[in-house]
Symmetry: C2
Subunit: 337 residues, 2 copies
């Protein structure tokens, strides 16, 4: 069996031309370069790989899952194009973000085009109405997760009246988990469920197993993201350490757990709430975090979700593909970038 990284790359390659097909449908030739740019600059292709392997794990063929796999990766890219606008992010995967490269208006139009390409892909699935419905719910929840993530920021966006008026000044671990379940968990859950539905599985027990597996690795995936943001190796990630602190995000599990120990008088809380923060101040806040148990507790929390995900797999028939899903869960837990 291939290692998980090559596995993702292998399935990713299969899905890229399918995404391209849907993106080029009803696209003006003058617009094609901009429309293809987000998928050309790469990405791990975790979600379509999950759709395909889920389909295989319940006894289907990979090809049956291709339109749904393309849809979930297009949905992921759709959310990234918009998130980068919302977060004023200028670089992704080492390349300029869509708005940075083409401008805000074009980025919005590209994003809209992505959403319609998702619809085009979903109509090629086995049961379009069901797939369209699940995707609509998924994107609404994802949007709500993004909304909460922004409202958990402790400064900035002074020109955004809704955010200023509705900020959360304190969040609980439960608030955090609710936010990441929506922001990251639900689309990964849908990626797995789509695999099952793509091959015509209707047994609620099997679908429920895929749902639980997906949601739980999705949450673990986001916890990994948060840990990497604060403790990652810049040489591997290509990003400066502590970006979430610089962006005032209370919605990072490490920050959240550290603040439970440090309280609001801490350097960390002051740094996160300051309108403008230098990278030196971020580094000092990260040093403060290192004195707490936040890293250990975040890892422990992530392990619980990974274990829950792996245990859900027991409801699926034993196979090499089920084993791949288990390995992917472990990979997500251990990933360093």
């Amino acid at each position: 069996m291939s290692d998980p990284v090559s596995l993702l790359a292998e399935y990713g390659k299969k899905i890229d031309p399918i995404m391209e097909k849907y993106l080029l449908k009803n696209a003006n030739p003058e617009f094609q370069e901009a429309v293809l740019y987000p998928i050309k600059i790469g990405g791990k292709r975790v979600r379509p790989a999950l759709t395909i392997i889920s389909a295989l794990a319940v006894g289907g063929k990979a090809e049956e899952a291709y339109p749904a796999a393309a849809a979930v990766e297009l949905a992921h890219n759709y959310s990234l194009i918009l998130d980068d606008i919302i977060d004023h992010s200028e670089v992704r995967r080492g390349y300029p973000t869509v708005w940075k490269k083409y401008g805000l208006s074009t980025a919005i139009l590209v994003a809209v085009h992505y959403r319609e390409s998702i619809a085009d892909a979903l109509s090629d699935t086995r049961d379009p109405k069901t797939f369209h419905d699940i995707m609509a719910r998924t994107i609404k929840l994802l949007t709500d997760g993004e909304r909460l993530d922004i409202l958990f920021e402790q400064s900035g966006r002074e020109d955004e009246p809704y955010i200023v008026a509705n900020r959360y000044r304190k969040i609980s671990l439960e608030d955090y988990l609710n936010m990441i379940e929506k922001k990251t968990g639900v689309l990964i859950e849908t990626s797995c469920v789509f695999g099952g539905l793509s091959v015509g599985i209707v047994e609620e027990e099997i679908i429920q197993a895929l749902r639980e597996y997906g949601r739980n690795i999705g949450i673990a995936f986001q916890i990994s993201d948060d840990i990497i943001d604060i403790f990652g190796d810049a040489r591997k990630t290509g990003k400066k350490v502590g970006g979430d602190i610089k962006e005032h995000k209370l919605g990072n599990v490490v920050v959240q757990l550290a603040l439970e120990e440090l309280g609001e008088d801490s350097l960390l809380y002051k740094t996160i709430s300051k309108p403008e923060v230098s990278w030196e101040e971020v580094a000092a806040a990260v040093d403060e975090i290192k004195k707490t148990n936040a890293f250990r507790r975040a890892e422990k929390l992530r392990s619980e979700y990974t274990l829950h995900a792996i245990s859900a797999l027991q409801k699926l028939p034993a196979s090499n593909y089920r084993e791949m899903l288990r390995e992917l869960a472990v990979f997500i837990e251990k990933r360093e970038f």
Copy 2:
């Protein structure tokens, strides 16, 4: 029979609670006010009225068309929320635009939520796959129309690399008509087609008649918009005259036809190409337009589309509802705001 204005208002009222139902589906209570804001501030409800009357005109019941009628009006609002961001517009229907009221991030999230509410509505139609497919094509074409409209601008957006690199320096009447067919015609065409499909009509001749009627009144509708922008009565429209000139838009039929007569040495062309334009300069350019035949020619062009639309109605069975569609076409032609 009611006059067209009361007719639109009457059907609009019927569709508002249906749109609300789809918008509130999977909406966080904290987000509901922002999500409902765009439809609470009004709108003429032309598109859902067309869907319902089209359904009635082919022998169906109004209720059968409600989900599709809600979908087209949600799609219209979806495009307005994003257009207002793209055009930096601060006021719509006398109220702050969504981004102005809530901030850019929130406006983007509201727009995304609208798109998923469209999907929720489409899944309640008679034939979800067909409706989803038509809507995906419609929104992709609408997006392309918006892209062209921006590329027809003669100045501004210097921070948007795609626009600066791809501007059209000259456009033909054909380019203009292609742009407005996409920007305005296609969604109005879809509004009418959805009426027929909502009651189970499959005869290509009937659907084709609704399609032609809709596309042609859509184009006439946009020509009216353009004429009103340049020659409208500010007391009726609530807008200053010549907004399109201030926004450097070559994609206004009056501007386009006037420039055919005046050429590039005109005050009009200089004004439209200037990075910053005062309202006094706009007024001077409008005075120059008044010396041309542009107004008369624009009206004549619009009449041709209206007549084409009305003649397409001959393929529908004679009824009071067909007469309503004819009256709406005339109303669109004669409207002053």
